[in-house]
């Protein structure tokens, strides 16, 4: 078990390191490096200045040397400075991570709370009206473009009904208010993003929950339990659901990847100040330091969640050995 976790951890770290280099290299291919931007904004710049500036920023070096320099500064705890926001990157990341964490966790919990009962109920009554509704709903959920769903929610709830704000994280100047007003205020801004993320996730989860439960209820021990005359509830929950949970845990942990992808689009549409929006804004705005850090952090989070999924899988199903 320990060797398995260690090996997977090392693998994950290798992937992260490789990916950070690839990302770094790709950033050098993006149009407009810092010096090019300075040239654009200052017509009086001379060619000697350009050479000097390129040397100053190390842009005359090949990509791998620049990467090495960048890694060593990161290792010293210096994450760099954001060009757009004029603050150190470290200061920027904290609140953004917090915002994304709240958004994704709440929508994950809400979608699980809705999807699991839906999936289980339709698995217990296959072929019924509710089952076909669930089927249609889950297909719609996986087929709908997430950003468009978000836009539709804005049209309905913000433009037409005017109930909820169309975007943002909190009302300006609210940070001075007392605790409960602040929570209420942020909650109002969270409703639409959570709704739009949840609708899609429910689509995926319901499908998996239904098929996992169907699969579990088809086992021989369920028939045995029925023959023994156990109560229906006991059969469903203790014998059926517990076994359906094994594949579900993996699916849920693996869904962090799609959750994060979806959150990026949702955050962008709702102008919600999370990591996803930061990744997008910094890449569009040529803010390289922020782009690198936010990208690596977001990818690492997903990869670590995949690792956690593998480990949890072993705990949920004692038959699995890690060899």
């Amino acid at each position: 078990m320990t060797t398995f976790i260690l090996r997977r951890l090392i693998q994950t770290l290798v992937v992260i390191a490789l990916l950070s280099y690839v990302c770094f290299y790709l950033m050098t291919l993006m149009p407009g490096d810092p010096v090019e931007l300075m040239i654009q904004s200052n017509p009086k710049i001379t060619s000697e200045d350009i050479v000097r500036l390129k040397q100053l920023y190390g842009l005359d070096q090949p990509a791998y040397k620049r990467y090495a320099t960048w890694v060593s500064t990161i290792a010293q705890g210096d994450l760099g400075y954001s060009r757009t926001y004029r603050v150190p990157v470290g200061e920027l990341m904290g609140p953004r991570l917090y915002n994304t964490f709240i958004l994704s966790m709440l929508s994950l919990l809400i979608s699980l709370a809705i999807a699991l009962p839906m999936g289980i109920y339709s698995a217990l009554n296959p072929g019924g009206k509710f089952d076909s509704f669930v089927n249609l709903f889950s297909f719609a959920g996986i087929s709908i473009p997430s950003f468009w769903l978000a836009l539709m929610l804005i049209i309905i709830f913000s433009v037409n009904l005017g109930w909820l704000p169309a975007g943002g994280t909190e009302t300006v100047g609210m940070s001075d208010a007392d605790y409960f007003t602040m929570i209420k205020d942020r909650g109002v801004y969270l409703i639409l993003p959570i709704l739009s993320l949840s609708i899609q996730q429910i689509g995926g989860f319901v499908r998996y929950a239904r098929s996992a439960m169907l699969e579990a209820m088809r086992n021989d021990y369920i028939r045995t339990a029925k023959a023994k005359g156990l109560a229906r509830n006991v059969i469903i929950w203790r014998h059926g659901f517990r076994n359906a949970l094994i594949p579900l845990i993996t699916i849920i942990a693996l869904s962090f990847s799609t959750l994060f992808s979806g959150a990026l689009l949702t955050e962008t549409v709702f102008a919600y100040q999370g990591v996803g929006k930061l990744v997008y804004d910094s890449i569009i705005g040529n803010d390289y330091n922020v782009a690198m850090i936010s990208f690596i952090i977001s990818v690492s989070m997903v990869l670590l969640m995949n690792l956690v999924a593998d480990i949890l899988y072993g705990f949920a199903d004692p038959r699995i050995t890690f060899n």
């Binding site: 297909f139 719609a140 087929s143 468009w148």
Partner: protein
Amino acid sequence: MAIPQTNESSLTQGQINQLEKATPFWKIIFNQFIEHKMAVAGSIVILIFVIIALGADIISSITGLDPQKQNVSARYLAPFSTSEFSMDMKENEIEKWSEKNPELAVELSNFIKEKSLFSATDGQNPLIGFGTQDVSVVTAAIASENSASINSFKELTKTFTTKHWFGTDEVGRDVLIRLIYGTRVSMGVGVMVAIASALIGLLVGSVAGFYGGRIDTALMRITDALLSLPLVPVLIVLAAVDLQKLPAIKALMRPDNESIVKMFIILCFFSWMTVARLVRGSILSLREREFVLAAKTLGAKDSTIIIKHMFPNVIAPMLVAISLGVGNSILFEAALSFLGLGIMPPTASWGNMLNNAQEVIYKNMWLTILPGIMILLTTISFNFVGDGLQDAVDPKSIRR
């Protein structure tokens, strides 16, 4: 096929023949497929969209709508409204018409002066002054007249108005024709990416599955690593890259298709993994089958065994993967184009029509609603078709 529940003697010769005839594989699949109602509905929708995409040029020439034609005087029109040319556009057209038909133009000017249909101020051309009024005013004035010049002019004024079934966008382009051309781009990219990535996956999966050992481990490590990445951020980084800086790809690009080629390459790179795993799995089990052993004993080359004996066995599950892949590719293309990193305007795609949807919502919400409905309809159709195919090729997986 249902076997009649009667004793054998009561069967006619025809029925016996029918029973003895083996049903071809594709027919079994087809019969299973048409049982899945949503899949059939989905394939009809896809068929309609394919026809629309292929006939986009014909539709454009029949209706006279041009996806690129802007008209700043008719921005954000609601669906079912009619737009008119602005004054200077009309003037332009009338001048062109008069240059083409000088004698008709003189005749018409005289007619306008004669009937005093328009009181021209000093130095103003009465024809232009008359013609640039509202189209309804002009047609009402000359409706009952009938002469060569007037008929020709009537034809001209007809082109001044355009009916916009789906309204117009922020620069006055017709939304309907842009959606039609967008079908071509979005579905084209989706289908091509799905097919190309299925081929890549087939190659990788079959090599990994057939040779096993270190090759297999290495290829599957890469596959798993790519599968575990959160796709949207990765795609955004790649889409923001200026691929022109890579010489190998530069050769493929022309200025007019640059963004489409780029989108195709990026999406292909991240969509082959599911097919690769699927193919590897089937090849691993096929490798142990007798017919492969027989082929090997007969001295068949590795490539022959893979292509001739194994591929036919993985085509069915691959079809499922392709149709599910189309839906995903369309979704990713739309998302990237929506973020302004995918297909670049002026080429219309469903995604980039939503590009500045957030600002446009308040002016004309149909601009946001319609392209999304197209995306949703297409992806849900492809997903249902994939589901139907899955049931057809693997009856064990049917939802019970």
